[in-house]
Amino acid sequence: MNLTAIWVFTAFIIASLLVTWWAAVRTRSTGDFYTAGGKITDLQNGLALAGDFMSAATFLGLTGLAFMGGADALLFAIGGTVGWAVILFIFADRLRNLGRYTFADVVAYRLHPERLRILAAVGTLIVAIPYLIAQMVGAGGLFQTLFALPYGLAVLIVGTLMTVYVALGGMLATTWVQIIKAVLLLTGGTALAVMALLPFGFDMNEMFARAAGIHPLGERILAPGGLYRDPVSVISLALAFIGGTAGLPHVLMRFFTVPDARQARKSIGYAVLFIGYFMGLTVIIGFAAIVLLAGETQYLDATGRMAGGANMTAVYLARQTGGEAFFGFISAVAFATILAVVSGILLSASASVAHDLYTRVIRRGNVSDRQEMYVSRVATVAIGAIAIGLSILFRNLNIGVISALVLAIAASVNFPVLILALFWPGLTTRGALLGGSAGLIVVIVLTVLSPTIWVSVLGHEEAIYPYAYPTLFSMLIAFAVTIAISMADRSRRADVDRGAYPAQLIRSELGQPV
């Protein structure tokens, strides 16, 4: 075991438990539990939002992509930055002005409240639970490779800690754990980039030139085409980044933790800054690793490939440039990253069950604040336990496929309904329900028929749907079905839905009803 890793990680756990205890004392109402009482400041929330997005998958995965495929990895870094900027322009103000705890508050504002909350809860859980499992399976695998920690034990540690943070400390604890981790990750990433560029005297041109000289793809790693060769995949990737991020329930929930629209706006502005910086840096780290890890056989397995997969690039680079201590630090930061991200996802899932399904749909709002708090804590523990169980059961899950699928679902179910609810007066309840369902079905069917499942998992010769990602088609179909059904909708509910748009517009633009 690595001593530095143990020290840093123990320090993080102690700090996070102290934060949880501090937050638990201050969490007295459902408003505190779901949104930290709306008292988070813009810079704090910006760090937490960026932290939600900068998961271990982003950090380790993107370094690995640049290491393998070169310049095409920039499509991800650009996607993250542009996606968040678009969320800022389109959603920040209106969402903050209309919602209270979850994004369901916003889509249920003028549409049939119970039906839309059910749709939003399905959209939340079907994103949150697979996402939780993918992250936890990733954590288990990572720590098996790094520290020879048994897989089940790693999953159990992550699962128990996240459940404790969320059940006791609610959004306040979750936010501060995320802030601590974001600062650690930004510092760690910067340090790794400095260490990686030091051997080149910080001469970027020299670094890129030598990377092209060593990599099997040669000069082609500095040019496009290393990862993608067809327009459908490129456009789907772009749409998944823009619509998928804007449809992630744990991200949307953070819009409500600040006092007003002004702070929401500024916090997402900060998030774009941190995300752009971090993802841009990560790609550089990947390129530097091409040179610095070349010929270092101790990082390879028996077949000559990188032990533990290309995702290990960043941690091996840390060992190569800074020795055992730096390696331990970066590994501990990766573990902290996973913990902070799963906590946010768990909170969004339990808020959806307790607030949207139990309080609003089943009990129609006839629940005391104390009862709702109780239900949300029970839901947290239950979902935490389910996630631990499923992660141990499905340890061979392909994390990459699940992560891409989750983003595609968010982009094809939550995003179309949300954007049309906010900006299109013609949207009706029926249109939203059928359009959201259509998006979900198309995502799942296309994913099963795509090369990742049809060929790799089911063993067929050729994929029926030849592209890597479904988002281009699934998102367009969701929009088309929602709009067509809404326009054809002659029900009485449809008149109510359309008639309530002006009141919603005023509230969303002025922040107060008239």
């Binding site: 499509l75 542009v82 706006r265």
Partner: protein, 99 residues
């Protein structure tokens, strides 16, 4: 006409909606277009992006990629600045008048 109807026809409120939507969709469209053009240029004009800068190894692909990241950050800062400076005061004025 109802109070709500009056507000919807109010000149200031209409100006607020117009300014906001121009900024919102203008910037969102611009950045999305920049991202997609970069991605598609990689497919249809790969030679162009693979060209190195004069006397260097760094290619246009890398330079433009990072330029779009910087552009995204700059647009976000510009948006927050523009809304806080121009749109928010107008919104506050209207909100005060229609309380």
């Amino acid at each position: 006409m109802s109070r709500r109807g009056e507000l919807l026809n109010d000149a200031d409120f209409r100006r607020l909606l117009h300014r906001r939507s121009r900024l919102r969709w203008g910037l969102a469209g611009f950045l999305t277009a920049a991202y997609l053009s970069y991605g598609l240029a990689g497919l249809y004009a790969p030679a162009l992006l693979a060209t190195p800068l004069p006397g260097a190894a760094i290619t246009w692909s890398l330079v433009l990629g990072y330029a779009i990241i910087v552009l995204g950050i700059a647009c976000s800062i510009g948006y927050v600045w523009q809304v806080n400076r121009i749109i928010a005061p107008l919104q506050k004025k209207i909100a005060g008048e229609w309380r």
